[in-house]
Assembly symmetry: C2
Homo-oligomer: 123 residues x 2
């Protein structure tokens, strides 16, 4: 029985840069998604295996870069309080993921041609 | 006089993966281009600030991954001999750069929307 060949996975990593001052890529997008999902900066930091201070400083840098805050602090019983994404925060994540998908679609054809140049690999 | 605002640069980095065994991204594409440009693996290594051994081992890994060699050794008077890209090598680089361009085009619209959410920045 012939084994099915597994195709190479094309992974576009989108990064937005502005000189040295600004950069937004997969790490920040993921942090925002985890804040949305866990309801706090500390929860997101834990989920991503980074320190609270590091997550907090990334959120601070986003406040400097974007015209409106992406993360809103919510009051509550949690240690260090909770956090949620603002409408702008959700829009930023959504535009970023849209760019990834558009890139995946746009690179598919050349990716398949490149795949054909590789040695056949068993799954 | 109003200063012109500089737009954020969208940089898609395309990486092709296959489990743990295979990865092709910007570094390998650049190495191939430098081999083409300098006419040798050692010249490419020097241009990229990497050791000859490292460049050589990357070329070896490409030989394992692709059905045909991407780099051809040429005989000549140079220390360690010269090298040139095979037709397949040129095609791989060209497909890779094509994927980058396609990704840039495909992400432009969402990138501009994201740009509008940033604080205005002087050039």
């Amino acid at each position: 029985m012939a084994e099915k060949l597994q195709k190479v996975l094309v992974e576009p990593r989108i990064r937005l840069n502005h000189g040295r001052g600004f950069s937004f890529g997969p790490g920040k997008a993921e942090l925002l998604e985890f804040i949305d999902c866990t309801g706090s900066i500390s929860g997101a930091a834990k989920a991503m295996g980074m320190s609270y201070m590091r997550a907090w400083s990334i959120v601070k840098s986003l406040d400097r870069d974007f015209a409106e805050p992406l993360v809103l602090k919510t009051r509550g019983g949690r240690v260090r309080g909770g956090a949620t994404l603002s409408e702008t925060g959700r829009r930023v994540v959504s535009l970023y993921r849209e760019m990834e998908k558009a890139s995946q679609t746009a690179t598919r054809e050349a990716g398949e041609k490149l795949n054909e140049l590789l040695k056949a690999r068993a799954k």
